[in-house]
Amino acid sequence: MSDELIQIETPFAFNEENQREFNALIGRYPVKEAAMLPTLHLAQRQAGYITPAVMKYVAEQLEVSVMKVKDVVTFYPMFFEEPVGEYVIRVCHTLPCALRDCKGVLEHLKAKLDTDIAAETNLAKGTTPDGKFTLMKVECLASCDVAPVIMVNDDLYKNLTPEKIDEIIDNL
């Protein structure tokens, strides 16, 4: 994929606040490329997900090829290449959570949101039609003492029970 072939639907550029944050970031590393992950996080927060336009913009900012950005985006599970819901619900399903019935949590959320679980290459599968929620499974969130846990966007919820889940979702 050469740069010219990328279809650019909506152009992307950092807003003023993110531009300022980006400028601060770039000074931290001896090479610009090293700012890749924080820059992509910033861009994803602004754009919602990593579109080809975002990749092109980030590539220009960091002075690397677009392919290099794509390479990184595909490697890390936290970067989305498809639209996701307003609330991304991450359900931990690794062993310590499994020992505390994370299956029940997952089933309850599936039923409550009436959606399937997103696959890494098919996020739409786990996204509600109104675009409000995306339900996905993730690996250990380093909170096994308070298992089972979920993350809703940036917030962690612990020791979940069906009632607690209802309360969390209803309050969103």
Partner: protein, 491 residues
């Protein structure tokens, strides 16, 4: 009952300990001040060496020794603090970041002073948004108070700390994966050598150190080596003549989860036994311990025969397992080991970075075999073969009996051992992720073989009573080489 000894976690629950002023009230930054006023950098490095501090991130490598490999004449040198904490069952770094970030900054300052480092990157896993926020705020405060930045406290020291977010890949916890990721690439581990200490991030010497390891430094400097080495057992390494001391000093932030009544982080002297730790954590939830994972999901499993194993670096290595990250996962009699292995293998199959063929293909293959067994489609042959075990002469060999052949179990062990061989401890992969896959696979299978056989025989998952599910030590090759270490003073 063993008492908790809170050192790193002593002030964790003090309100507002995350702010500079409160941290200062509890001796905050005085240890760093002591370091720069009373000691030369080499003295600090020597203290760390003498303290016997071993890395808390997974490998358990001597911190002082690691520092001694760093060439002093190549500048700049970098410190990467590993706050990626993604080993299943581990959650102690999170609390440091969220509640007491200044302690980490003080540890980093001491390391930087000792090693002549000016730039530190703290690689924080992407999901730790709160932890990153708290640490960023603490770093900002430290700059304002003159403990970071240019010419710190008039000493001419320049030290900067930057946080760097990960993005959800477990393999970025591996030190060279972390370095690649920090450089803005996919987090694929590098071939070693060169080791990071010689050629790390941006091609420069790099010290990679876990959060907990760095948090030990203020206390080693503040209270002295003698005080520090009193905690935890020091064994004798009898390979040397006369035996050399093999320290397991200090406290460990044991993270205990699974089937215990009060899961959580317990700070205890290294060297307590598995059953003591379960006692400290409020006792077992259930009737009987079936199995314990002693060091994060990568560690070989322990059975109920092995609950007297001491949870320190040396004892667990001699028990053919490892302390790893100190994440202890307890399973009671209701748990099915095949099911647990399936869960863990799904994790590893998802997290392999894909660089090496044995790992990229082998790991999903192992997962698929376990899945097949769990689904009741495990394969068994109708033939039999001679059974190996402890023979009449008391040695390992042909017992004269025959056994049935479970093809899928042979295949499972063979595939796993071809990613990394657990008996010879050799691997065909770039990083030790390979051994983190085959260790659980082979140890679960060898120690709980009856449960795997039952699943294949019955065509469904069968949870056997603990005594029946576990292979007794005398019949199991995996246990044959288990040693109980002796404390140094006893010799």
């Amino acid at each position: 009952m063993v008492e908790e000894r809170r050192i790193l976690y002593e002030h964790l629950d003090v309100p507002d300990i995350n702010t500079f002023d409160v941290f200062r009230q509890y001796d905050g930054y005085t240890r760093f001040e002591k370091a720069i006023t009373e000691y030369q950098p080499e003295d600090i490095a020597k203290m760390v060496m003498d303290s016997g501090l071993k890395g808390r991130g997974g490998a358990g490598f001597s911190t002082g020794l690691k520092w001694s490999f760093v060439p002093r004449d190549i500048k700049p040198c970098y410190l990467c603090c590993n706050a990626d904490e993604s080993e299943p069952g581990t959650f102690s770094n999170r609390y440091v970041l969220e509640k007491n970030p200044h302690l980490l900054i003080e540890g980093i300052l001491i390391c930087c002073y000792a090693m002549g480092i000016e730039t530190t990157y703290v690689y924080i896993r992407g999901e730790f948004t709160l932890g990153k926020k708290m640490l960023d705020a603490a770093i900002k405060e430290a700059y304002e108070k003159g403990y970071l930045g240019k010419d710190i406290r008039g000493t001419g020291l320049n030290i900067d700390i930057y946080t760097h977010p990960g993005a959800g890949a477990y393999i970025c916890g591996e030190e060279t994966g972390l370095i690649e990721s920090l450089e803005g690439k996919r987090g694929q581990p590098r071939n070693k050598p060169p080791f990071p200490a010689v050629e790390g991030v941006f091609g420069k010497p790099t010290v990679v150190q876990n959060v907990e390891t760095l948090c030990n430094l203020p206390f080693i400097v503040g209270n002295g080596v003698e005080w520090y080495t009193q905690m935890g057992p020091t064994y004798a390494d009898t390979r040397a003549n006369p035996p050399t001391p093999d320290p397991n000093t200090g406290t460990k932030l044991y993270c205990i989860s699974g089937d215990v009544n009060e899961p959580g982080v317990y700070e205890l002297d290294l060297g307590l036994t598995c059953s003591e730790l379960i006692e400290v954590a409020g006792g077992l939830r259930g009737e009987e311990v079936k199995a314990v994972i002693p060091g994060g999901s990568s560690a070989p499993i322990l059975t109920h025969y092995e609950l007297d194993t001491r949870l320190d670096f040396t004892s667990l290595t001699l028990a053919k397992s490892m302390l790893g990250s100190g994440g202890i996962i307890v399973m009671n009699e209701t748990r099915n080991i095949v099911d647990c292995l399936l869960n863990i293998m799904k994790f590893y199959a998802h997290e392999s970075c894909g660089q090496c063929t044995p790992c990229r293909w082998g790991t999903p293959w192992v997962r698929d075999i376990v899945q097949r067994i769990a689904d009741g489609d495990g394969r068994k042959s109708t033939m039999t073969r001679p059974k190996f075990g402890v023979a009449e002469n008391g040695r390992w060999g042909d017992t004269g009996e025959t056994e049935e052949i479970y093809e899928d179990l042979d295949l499972l062990e063979s595939v796993a051992n071809n990613i990394a061989n657990v008996d010879t401890m050799t691997w065909n992969t770039i990083c030790v992720f390979g051994i983190a896959v085959s260790w659980p696979a082979v140890s679960y299978l060898r120690k709980f073989r009856p449960e795997f056989e039952a699943a294949i025989r019955e065509g469904k998952l069968v949870t056997l009573p603990v005594a029946e599910a576990t292979v007794p030590p005398e019949e199991n090759y995996a246990y044959q080489q288990r040693f109980i270490p002796k404390e140094f003073a006893d010799l």
